[in-house]
């Protein structure tokens, strides 16, 4: 096996991507090849150094993150009350209110018309009654005088 292939295998080994069978091949080669042994040592050292040398996350950042989350938690309660209603629902609600207003306005005008009709009917009926009563009056007054016969009615006090 060529040393170039082994170098690639070393890289894979460091990344935990090498299969067990290949791992055995790798170590068998390394034990017999000083060049590749050196390569392995170097690569291992580099990886170890890079992984070991990591900056700590500052307390300031930590505090900032958790403060933001606290705010987020608080605001999520308000969100639940206020802003979880999507825009289209608000729009539909508005539309429904407008429709109801329009409907009741129409109802009102038709009621007013009905009322006028009833009023007119009432007036004509009233006129009719008045006319009839006039007619009756006239009839009554024009009747010939009738002679009243029989015993006069005694009025008992």
């Amino acid at each position: 096996m060529k040393c170039d292939e082994i170098k690639l295998m070393i890289s894979e080994y460091l990344d935990d991507e090498l299969s067990k069978e290949k791992e055995i091949m790798l170590f068998m080669h390394i034990s017999g090849c000083p060049d590749c042994r050196e390569e392995f040592k170097h690569q291992n050292l580099i990886q170890h150094t890079v992984k070991l040398h990591q900056h700590e996350v500052s307390d300031r950042l930590e505090q900032k993150i958790f403060n933001s989350i606290k705010d987020e938690k608080k605001s999520s309660v308000y969100k639940l009350i206020n802003s979880t209603v999507p825009v289209y629902i608000n729009f539909i609600l508005g539309l429904v209110i407008v429709i109801i207003a329009l409907f009741s306005f129409l109802q009102l005008t038709s009621l007013r018309n009905d009322l006028n009709d009833i009023n007119a009917k009432y007036n004509t009926a009233l006129e009719g009654i008045q006319y009839q009563s006039q007619q009756i009056d006239l009839m009554m007054n024009n009747m010939p005088a009738v002679k009243i016969t029989g015993q006069p009615v005694k009025i008992i006090n």
């Binding site: 990344d15 991507e17 150094t49 890079v50 996350v57």
Partner: protein
């Protein structure tokens, strides 16, 4: 419900804060921006925790989100980048007094070498070393093939090793 999601979040936060912060820091090269990005990623995570479909692979979500944030940051701050690199390198000089001298020299050297490389190379390397994702997962995040991931990481390692060899010879 609220509380259990908070516990979930805290667990994930503790697990990923360091690798995520370091990955972002190495790429944006500014502590201030890195903190902003990490802050946004975790806030996003908290808000979307219940929506993430596959909770076992949450690290993929985290690193993909972080990567998107990093690149949107680059788009916003195209011209400011140069000075940030300087700031960051000065910082390396002054911090970590506790660490032994040789290791400090080595890491400084490695970081400088990685900074010289193209972002397509060093990004993938940092992603691998800090996140511990598999080649396949990284391939998914970067939207490239697994073989390309393998060969890019290998190339970066070779470059680093060659540079270090050169350093020891000189």
């Amino acid at each position: 419900m609220q509380n259990s999601s908070f516990v979930d979040f805290t667990l994930n936060y503790n697990k990923f804060k360091k690798p995520l912060f370091n990955y972002v820091l190495k790429i944006v090269k500014s502590e201030m921006f890195a903190e902003d990005i990490v802050h946004n990623v975790f806030l996003n995570l908290y808000n979307n925790l219940s929506l993430i479909r596959n909770p076992e692979r949450i690290e993929i979500w985290i690193f993909t989100t972080a990567r998107n944030e990093v690149f949107s940051h680059f788009r916003k701050n195209k011209n400011k980048n140069e000075e940030n690199i300087e700031q960051y390198e000065n910082k390396i000089d002054t911090c970590n007094i506790v660490e032994e001298y040789e290791r400090q020299e080595l890491i400084k050297f490695i970081e400088i070498e990685l900074n010289k490389m193209d972002i397509s190379q060093n990004e993938i390397y940092y992603l691998k070393e800090y996140s511990d994702l598999s080649y396949k997962e990284i391939a998914g995040i970067l939207d490239i093939t697994e073989d390309l991931v393998r060969s890019r990481i290998f190339k970066v390692r070779q470059k680093l090793k060659d540079a270090i060899k050169k350093l020891y010879k000189d």
